[in-house]
């Protein structure tokens, strides 16, 4: 037992965190989904949906929050919101877990002592008096990027009242170079994004339009639209990605060019030179540049060039120049949604650190940021902060920064508070709480700023004041409409058409020519560590590395071979006298000669979920070039370190599993295998699913959506390492040349289900609509079904993952939690089918196409997953399955899966 046993206590704690419910922290013993408990007043509302908005890097994504009996259960996308278009990303899906996390900051503390809420108001009043006397001098407010009109209004009021006060935005993932590039190109910082729906050729230089970010859902959806249209025409749009460190865009690239970080700018210049872009200062050459330039030229206005956040401002300017030269109609410029588009990367904190160090900063407010962890160590933020007499931190968790501040204020979660926000394109939306506040002492940033100003201090009136000002007499109507739709129509920033400045090119950036280069990237699940406390995201295998519960130094297999290392070997990485220890992890899509250090690991978090979990790349980061580290050395230590991965590189080859066809090509329908038995007929509905591998970008949203919808427990790193993950839906990845194919694998619901026949107790059987149902209470746990499942989609409750010693509480009351010793698996969201059936039956009508959406389907930003009745030829899923590139996974086994795949389409095959 010693081998697996110590994990158990950890499991219990982790599942406590992931399964503890709303009630944790509330005073009342409200039991979830208890139908006998009616609210004291008013109509009983079983289920309700609220439109709200969740921020990522300060920019909003409109979401719908489903509640049951007053508790937030699930986050879905808001189709009306441009940054969601009905889809969700992993961060939005996982928000509901953070909301309910019992480890959230719950108490107002001063120097570690719990204080009553009034104490904070008194302290802020005292600070106000002190600061007012010197016009605010000494006050430094640090926030994340602010696009919220209300927060911006409050900050503007504050700065107007106290000219001496300073406001600094800070975001470890800031794209300062893009702003600087826009300044070079147009003389003004504009926001730029491509309208991928219209793009025929996209050249991404280190850019990751399909990767995580505030516009991911929008970009991915439009990319998928263009691709669908291209498939129809037989001419695929071409995504050309030149990059060093693998991204989702690179994985989906039609042409993936692996470049050393130092080669990216020269490559861009070579393409620009080949296109004859005017004003180019320094040209370069690259063997592939001519062909890429030709493709861009051919597409003309339907082409676009994008530069990534790690590239120098010059390359961003060059991209603008290329787009201008091409006459690109794809590229979209608009006024930035952010209230103050200014540098907000680590380097921007230098003045503050100086002020803190020399005593000029007397009052430092750190609102919703965690600079003690995520500012590069070189900057010396933490020691400087320790010298500040009054420092206040507001955060969701008692994090590293909170521990160094004199005041610690719990921050309200977005799902329990009022606010407003703007999307990447400037579209505004009102944030409304989907649940009553779960942390009584928590405040929003707006409330804190208002308290500092001595003004009205509840969030709702603050937000209303902003919009009353904007709408005047039409306020009531506008407010109601905005809450209902989750978006304020017509608030998007207008498209700008800006002329290129003549002297846009500062010339080639100076680059050293020797030494190992480290590329810093946000972790796909925890980003810069801000989501490190979220167990769903920690346990989520990263799309391209399949690493969960941590990170590793990523490099090309050839680089690993050069150093004589294989996966899991520990290295010491050193830069500027600072060093970290970490295992290496070869990734086939990585450029040789450089390494990738993912951010977000090694946190000294307050919970077991986030504590440690990989290397802390911030130690090595250079604040001035935060995305590339020069003069890095790497040396093997000879030790081996554990890396938890759900799929290993040796298993990345599966040509039969993830298939590829040329445009217009397809597969012959499989010949029916001879069978001893007659087939069953499925009259009425026959549920089925089609998953389009061509549009799946591997973003993992479906996996977290499934976890959230189906109360899938978190098993923790120990169990994960043993191979006991519980995700009903997994995303397999397969190598295909230098690109990758993602294959989401839920239960296939085989018509000739091999799992069912071997169950001795009828615990897994078919229903009349073709669902392979798993009857948990009947399962005795022989696990034979899992053995006989060729897709290995069945999950077993080795321990009582879903329960704690405390009374069990379920997040989604429609889905039962599974006890120890039973098998579980994807149900096609059977509870949603049943709900639709009941609904339809009561209204005496058949179930409509699209009425039943599985959680994964609902989440998918590219709509790669289609679900519905395959018996009805007019449904979307039936149409998808009629496509020639439709095939069954392991079709040769003749299990007749109801889930089928649409092969990836690739030109030139």
């Amino acid at each position: 037992m010693s081998g697996s046993h110590p994990g158990r206590r950890e499991i219990l704690r982790l599942s406590a965190a992931s399964l503890a419910l709303a009630a944790a922290g509330c005073d009342e013993p409200t039991e979830f989904g208890q139908p006998l408990y009616a609210p004291p007043r008013g109509e009983v509302q079983d289920a309700a949906t609220y439109a709200t908005v969740l921020d990522l890097q300060g920019l909003g994504r409109g979401m719908l929050v489903r509640t049951r009996a007053g508790h937030a259960v699930k986050v879905d996308g808001n189709a009306l919101h441009p940054a969601s278009l009905g889809a969700t990303d992993v961060f939005a899906e996982a928000a509901v877990l953070s909301l309910h996390d019992p480890a959230r900051a719950r108490r107002l503390r001063e120097g570690g002592w719990t204080r009553a809420p009034a104490a904070l108001d008194a302290t802020l009043a005292a600070a106000r008096a002190e600061l007012a006397a010197r016009n605010g001098a000494g006050l430094h407010v640090v926030t994340g990027p602010i696009a919220s009109p209300t927060t911006a209004r409050l900050l503007a009021t504050l700065l107007a009242a106290w000219p001496g006060a300073r406001w600094q935005q800070y975001d470890p993932l800031a794209e300062d170079a893009a702003l600087a590039g826009a300044e070079l190109a147009f003389g003004t910082p504009v926001a730029t994004w491509p309208d991928l729906a219209r793009a025929q050729v996209v050249l991404a230089l280190g850019a990751d339009p399909l990767g995580p970010g505030p516009a991911q859902l929008h970009l991915a959806r439009n990319w998928a639209l263009a691709r669908a249209e291209g498939r129809g025409r037989g001419v695929l749009p071409s995504l050309i990605v030149a990059e060093a460190s693998p991204t989702l865009s690179g994985a989906k690239a039609d042409r993936h060019i692996l470049l050393h970080p130092r080669e990216i700018e020269p490559f861009g210049r070579a393409v620009a030179a080949a296109l004859g872009v005017p004003g180019l200062q320094g040209a370069a050459s690259h063997p592939e540049a001519e062909a890429v330039a030709a493709a861009l030229r051919r597409a003309g206005p339907a082409a676009v060039m994008l530069a990534g956040r790690a590239e120098a401002p010059g390359l961003h300017a060059l991209a603008h120049a290329v787009n201008a030269a091409l006459g690109s109609e794809v590229v979209h410029h608009a006024a930035p949604a952010l209230a103050r588009p200014a540098p907000m990367g680590p380097a921007a904190l230098r003045p503050l650190v100086q002020a803190m160090a020399n005593g000029a900063a007397t009052h430092v407010l750190l609102l919703g940021v965690n600079p003690v962890y995520d500012v590069p160590a070189e900057l010396g933020f933490a020691p400087a902060l320790a010298r500040v007499p009054f420092s206040l931190h507001a955060g969701l968790y008692p994090d590293e920064t909170a521990r160094l501040c004199t005041w610690q204020v719990p921050l309200s979660h977005e799902l329990e508070s009022w606010g407003d926000s703007r999307a990447f394109d400037g579209t505004a939306a009102i944030r409304q709480p989907a649940t009553r506040p779960l942390v009584g002492a928590a405040r929003t940033v707006d409330e804190l700023l208002a308290a500092l100003l001595g003004a009205e201090e509840r969030a709702l009136p603050l937000v209303q004041a902003t919009w009353r000002e904007a709408w005047g007499a039409a306020f009531e109507e506008g407010w109601r409409a905005a809450l209902e739709a989750g978006v304020i129509p017509g608030s998007a920033a207008p498209r700008l058409h800006l002329p290129l400045r003549p002297g846009w090119d500062p010339g080639p950036a100076r680059q050293s020519q020797a030494g190992l280069v480290a590329v810093f990237t946000p972790d796909p699940c925890t980003l810069d560590g801000r989501f490190a406390e979220n167990a769903w995201l920690q346990e989520l295998p990263r799309p391209l590395t399949k690493i969960a519960w941590g990170n590793a130094v990523l490099l090309a297999p050839s680089t690993a071979a050069e150093y004589g290392m294989s996966a899991g070997d520990e290295v010491v990485i050193e830069r500027a006298g600072r060093r970290v220890l970490a295992p290496v992890w070869p990734v086939p899509w990585h450029a040789p000669g450089c390494i990738t250090l993912p951010l977000g690991g090694g946190r000294i978090a307050s919970t077991e979920v986030g504590l440690g979990r990989g290397l802390d790349a911030q130690i090595l980061r250079d604040p001035d070039t935060p995305w590339t580290g020069e003069h890095v050395t790497m040396a093997p230590t000879g030790r081996h370190a554990r890396v938890i991965a759900s799929q290993l590189e040796r298993d990345f080859d599966g040509p039969a599993a993830a298939r590829i066809v040329a445009p217009g090509e397809g597969f012959a329908p499989p010949a029916p295998a001879p069978s001893l038995y007659p087939d069953w007929k499925y009259e009425g509905h026959a549920w089925g699913m089609a998953i389009d591998l061509d549009t799946c970008i591997g973003c993992n949203a479906c996996v977290v959506a499934c976890q959230s919808e189906n109360n899938i427990p978190v098993v923790g790193p120990e169990q994960m390492a043993m191979g006991r993950r519980m995700h009903w839906l997994r995303v397999d990845i397969y190598r295909h040349g230098v690109s990758a194919i993602f294959q989401p694998v839920p239960c296939m619901h085989c018509e000739k289900a091999p799992c069912e026949v071997v169950c001795p107790v009828n615990a897994t059987v078919h229903d009349h609509e073709g669902l392979n149902v798993m009857v948990y209470p009947r399962c005795i746990g022989t696990r034979t079904c899992s053995n006989n499942c060729p897709y290995k989609v069945r999950r077993f409750n080795w321990y009582d993952y879903a329960r704690d010693e405390t009374p069990v509480k379920v997040r989604n009351p429609d889905v039962p939690i599974r006890p120890r010793g039973v098998m579980e698996k994807c149900t096609y969201c059977q509870h949603r089918i049943a709900a639709a059936r009941s609904e339809a039956r009561m209204e005496d009508r058949p179930i409509r196409d699209g009425e039943v959406e599985t959680a994964c389907q609902r989440a998918c930003p590219t709509r790669a997953i289609v679900f519905g009745d395959v018996n009805d030829p007019d449904t979307a899923v039936a149409r998808a399955k009629r496509a020639e590139r439709n095939y069954a996974l392991l079709g040769e086994l003749d299990t007749r899966p109801r889930t089928t795949y649409l092969a990836r389409v690739q030109a030139g095959r």
């Binding site: 408990y37 008013g42 079983d46």
Partner: protein, 208 residues
């Protein structure tokens, strides 16, 4: 050589064997009976309630319609419980000072629901939709019995899976044809190999 066993030993031995077999059979029969006993399913056992509510008084004597309090029963999965405010609608006039009604006032004051104890609670893995059953013409009393005669609400049926199946297997007979859902109308069930499979007995009808 003396006998090892007396002549009576045979009788005793055979009796012992017989008793052993009978005991095994008896234990099986006892288990069979106990598993079906009212006690095992808490039939006829009232649950301790915060307010000693009497259906006999409200539904029987006064003659309130079930739907007056369980308002959602025709549309929703849950029958719906009356809010404290609804109770007080009448009890502001009648019995208003009674101490047994104190939980109603507490509920209004504190904003908490009244913690009724369930008499008919189904396990978490079972789904039951009141609306569908009511609309299919199933009478409340079919499952809940003569509630209007119960001073303290009790279960009258086991609500075991077997009990559910009794109706679901015979749904054709129990449900008026006009109320049947389309997929149950034609060939009432599914035919396979000459055997009829009524869809109401499929696992996913009731299990989630």
């Amino acid at each position: 050589m003396p006998q090892i066993f007396s002549p009576r030993a045979d009788g005793r031995f055979r009796l012992t064997l017989l008793l052993l077999v009978a005991g095994l059979l008896g234990a099986a029969l006892l288990a069979y009976a106990l598993a079906r006993s009212d006690r095992a399913w808490a039939i006829g056992q009232p649950a301790p309630q915060p307010i000693p509510f009497s259906h006999a008084l409200h539904a029987g004597n006064i003659g309130l319609d079930c739907r007056y309090c369980h308002a959602q029963v025709e549309r929703s999965g849950n029958a719906g419980m009356p809010s404290a405010a609804l109770c007080l609608g009448c009890h502001q006039q009648v019995w208003m000072g009674a101490s047994i009604l104190a939980p109603l006032h507490d509920s209004i004051e504190l904003g908490d629901p009244i913690a009724w104890a369930s008499v008919h609670r189904l396990p978490g893995h079972a789904r039951f939709h009141h609306g569908v059953h009511v609309q299919a013409g199933v009478d409340c009393a079919t499952c809940h019995g003569a509630v209007q005669t119960m001073p303290r609400t009790v279960k009258v049926h086991s609500m075991s899976m077997g009990w559910c199946l009794e109706c679901h297997r015979a749904a054709a007979a129990m449900v008026p044809t006009a109320n049947r859902a389309p997929d149950e109308l034609g060939p009432l069930g599914l035919w396979h190999g000459g055997v009829e499979l009524p869809p109401l007995t499929r696992c996913s009808t009731c299990h989630r």
